[in-house]
């Protein structure tokens, strides 16, 4: 798991992960690259991350992937990421395509739902919590 301040160097990450697994005999490599869209007049998105819980979440996913013979990788930005640059890359390597296609979907969807990351629109230099696009994590409401 890799965290970076600001935009990701997507080509470097993609290529390095490819090289890391070049001799691992995986038949399928599926990265997912998330890029900031220009919409609603935003200049950038900005991210807060709670790293200890993100790391536990990712470690659990590595274990789940391993049980299916696969590997997952992930990189995410902290702080401001301008439009048309990337804040998120995740990837699955697996011997076969079916497992890779299933895992990348499950991994990305669970990431959206349960990775402890908070998103803010940046408009006129101001940070506004993207409440309408945010999802309560599994188990929310325990203290209510």
């Amino acid at each position: 798991m890799e965290l970076y301040n600001g935009s990701l160097d997507v080509k470097e990450i993609f290529g390095r992960w490819l090289d890391e697994e070049a001799e691992s005999n995986y038949g399928a490599y599926i990265p997912f690259v998330g890029t900031i869209r220009a919409e609603d007049g935003i200049e950038a998105l900005s991210f807060d991350i709670y790293e200890p819980v993100l790391r536990s979440w990712f470690d659990a996913w590595q274990q789940r992937a391993k049980e299916r013979g696969a590997v997952v990788k992930m990189a995410h930005s902290i702080g401001d990421v301008p439009v048309h640059t990337s804040s998120y890359v995740s990837a699955v390597f697996s011997p076969k395509r079916r497992v890779a296609l299933e895992l990348i979907e499950e991994f990305v969807e669970d990431f959206k739902a349960n990775a402890p990351i908070w998103k803010y629109d940046v408009k006129n230099g101001e940070r506004i919590y993207a409440e309408d696009r945010s999802t309560p994590m599994d188990g929310s409401g325990l203290l209510a």
């Binding site: 709670y50 945010s134 309560p136 994590m137 188990g139």
Partner: protein, 73 residues
């Protein structure tokens, strides 16, 4: 004493309190009007592990994190 911290957009400084279980924490947090509004949509971690049981016992020095709705990617 346990410490309760509020992550991401909640924007509130950590608080310390006496509490034997998470239920005690819940009760005390509901006294704060702003925090109370966040609670229905917040998940909870105890010492960085997600928890789902109000009866979870607490000990001195425990750290409770309140995690509001997320949107990575």
């Amino acid at each position: 004493m346990v410490k309760v911290e509020f992550l991401g957009p909640i924007g509130k400084a950590p608080v310390e309190m006496e509490a034997k279980t998470l239920a005690d924490v819940a009760e005390k947090l509901k006294e704060d009007g702003t925090v109370k509004e966040w609670l229905p949509k917040c998940a909870v971690a105890l010492n960085d592990t997600m928890v789902s049981d109000l009866n979870t016992p607490l000990k001195d020095g425990d750290r409770i994190s309140v995690l509001p709705p997320v949107c990575g990617g």
